[in-house]
């Protein structure tokens, strides 16, 4: 099986600071792949490089064998890569379901003429998009908010809403940046279930996460970063017993 996401010798320097240095790994389709590491290890920078928000200083990222390091985020979405953010990016000027329907953007082919005169093709597409979006909101567990203004929703609900929006784009791989940050134990358990359900649908999940219990429970493989470099890579069992990881986390 070929890798869905392949990262080769990726580096990013901000001035003299090497946030990510010489990182290589590959993620196979259908896996839950987590990136962990202490604060400032370069996890979010790595995600930003993969998803096109940053341009790498050197190295390359491949999606399905195609080099994507120079593409814009919207071009990556067209190729099946979608993400959420640690600092949530929700359109607060819209309702909850409109945020999810925004995720359907690429599947809704609309031109200016059908839009301005609101021809039947447009209303049909909108109806279908609304139905799909409502189902996705139900799936992630914020179905009760449909027409609520996003600005009136709780933090936990918004986190789930952001995942629904990413799924609405029908991605092959979805990158979740600290989805459990700020969630309580009950919400984290629900999140774990949700990630499992997403993976069961055949969507590859990449995860940056601090919650070790969550990560160890659901990941197929993990990548441990420290000071921008790869400290270890392997299955949860291998990582748990790796002496370098134990030293970095417990200060040996």
């Amino acid at each position: 099986m070929t890798a869905l996401v392949e990262v080769n010798n990726l580096s990013k320097a901000f001035g003299g600071v090497h946030a990510v240095e010489g990182v290589s790994f590959s993620v196979e389709a259908g896996q839950v792949y987590s990136v962990i590491g202490p604060n400032g290890a370069g996890k979010t920078t790595l995600f930003n490089l993969i998803t096109g928000l940053y341009t790498p200083t050197s190295g390359e990222v491949k999606l399905n064998g195609e080099s994507i390091a120079k593409l814009q985020p919207n071009q990556l979405a067209e190729r099946g890569m979608c993400r959420t953010f640690q600092q949530m990016q929700i359109c607060m000027n819209m309702t909850a379901i409109e945020n999810v329907m925004l995720g359907r953007h690429l599947t809704l082919k609309s031109n200016l003429l059908t839009t301005l005169f609101r021809l039947p093709a447009l209303t049909r597409g909108e109806k279908a998009a609304r139905k799909t979006s409502a189902e996705l909101m139900e799936f992630v567990g914020c179905g009760e908010y449909l027409d609520t203004e996003a600005s009136a929703m709780s933090y936990g609900a918004l986190k789930r809403l952001e995942i629904a929006r990413a799924l609405a784009a029908e991605p092959k791989v979805v990158l979740l940046d600290e989805p459990a940050a700020g969630l309580n134990a009950v919400e984290t358990a629900a999140l774990e279930d949700l990630i499992r359900k997403i993976a069961e649908q055949g969507i590859t999940v990449m995860l940056v996460e601090h919650d070790m219990k969550l990560v160890m429970g659901i990941s197929d493989r993990l990548l441990v970063l420290n000071y921008g470099r790869v400290l270890a890579e392997g299955t949860p069992e291998q990582i748990r017993t790796n002496p370098d990881v134990i030293a970095a986390y417990l200060g040996g």
Binding site: T51, Q72, N74
Partner: protein, 335 residues
């Protein structure tokens, strides 16, 4: 029935239509008709500007420039080259669309103050050209514009027309025409907003990053809405010129650009009906304050300042919010 109507997506348009068609029952003075026509045409341009400012969250401090190009192109082609008004209006709008596209691509990469300055410069350049090209535009003295015609049928404020068997004056005919144009402008804008394109535009305002990671090409949509709002201004400018019968470079001036933006902000950014109220208020206020003579501008400024401080969301959204709160209180809610 009432509940159903409050959910209807074009309820604002229905209200507006009622107001537009009921107004002639209350006014009959040619001056009032002239004022109402002028307001309707300017409001149309403001509705277009609101798509850019209120929905997509971008700014243009040079929008009067596009209004001016529309007015002058139609004026010049009809008076000097014998064109009919409709083709002049359409060709002018296409020209403005091209200019807005070419100018918009690079400057819409800018954000905040930088975008303000760039659009300001665009407006200034257009105003300077209109002022300096004396042979074509008449320079600062302005130029006369022939009355509006639709394939030989002429619409003039001095004419007499019959509509559904009723004799109506040219003033009223122009007013009804401008009112219908405004209603169409609002209908098209509302259709644009309630669509995938509209969602993409609003997401550029809400979170550009969020928009891009789900596949929205934000640069393309910013250019698109800039072009659409410029076309709105151009069309309204062309009609405005024909209605006034005489135009000067002030239609493209910095002052007028600022007035258009103020109408959007005062009425309520992102509220199509709100910005029309903004246009009505800002056009009527100077008339009402005329009695105060030299104090007029001071009062005008004071009213604007107080509105901005106490109703930062604009007139209509603030009023709607207030009513909603009152209603939930009356219903025993704890809001």
């Amino acid at each position: 029935m009432m509940a159903q109507f409050s959910q209807f997506r074009l309820k604002g348009l229905v209200f507006l239509a009622l107001v537009v068609f009921a107004l002639p029952l209350f006014i009959s003075n040619p001056f009032h008709y002239s004022l109402a026509t002028q307001i309707a045409l300017i409001a149309g341009a403001v509705v277009g500007l609101n798509l850019l400012v209120g929905f997509a969250g971008q700014i243009s401090l040079g929008h009067a420039g596009f209004f001016g190009i529309g007015a002058y192109f139609s004026g010049i082609m009809t008076s000097n080259y014998g064109w009919s008004a409709i083709p002049a209006l359409i060709v002018g709008a296409v020209g403005v669309a091209i200019i807005a596209w070419v100018v918009g691509r690079p400057i819409l990469r800018l954000k905040g103050h930088y975008l303000s300055m760039a659009t300001l410069a665009v407006g200034f350049i257009i105003a300077i050209i209109l002022n300096n090209e004396r042979e074509i535009t008449g320079g600062p003295d302005g130029m006369p514009v022939p009355s509006f015609d639709v394939f030989g049928w002429e619409l003039s404020v001095f004419g007499q027309y019959s509509l559904f068997g009723m004799e109506i004056s040219g003033d009223l005919a122009w007013y009804l025409f401008a009112g219908v144009v405004l209603l169409v402008a609002v209908w098209l804008a509302q259709n644009l907003i309630d669509s995938p394109i509209g969602r993409a535009l609003r997401s550029v305002h809400g979170s550009e990053v969020a928009a891009s990671v789900v596949g929205v090409n934000t640069a393309k949509y910013k250019s698109l809405v800039f072009v659409i709002s410029a076309v709105y201004a151009s069309v309204m400018g062309a009609l405005y010129g024909h209605f006034q019968g005489f135009i000067t470079p002030s239609v493209a001036s910095f002052d007028f650009s600022i007035l258009l933006i103020t109408m959007v902000v005062l009425g309520g950014m992102g509220s199509t009906i709100g910005v029309i109220i903004g246009a009505v208020v800002l056009e009527l206020l100077p008339q009402l304050l005329a009695d105060f003579q030299e104090m007029e501008m001071v009062l005008f400024g004071l009213i604007l300042m107080l509105t901005m401080i106490f109703m930062p969301k604009g007139l209509l959204p603030t009023a709607a919010n207030f009513l909603a709160k009152r209603r939930s209180k009356a219903a025993g809610g704890d809001a």
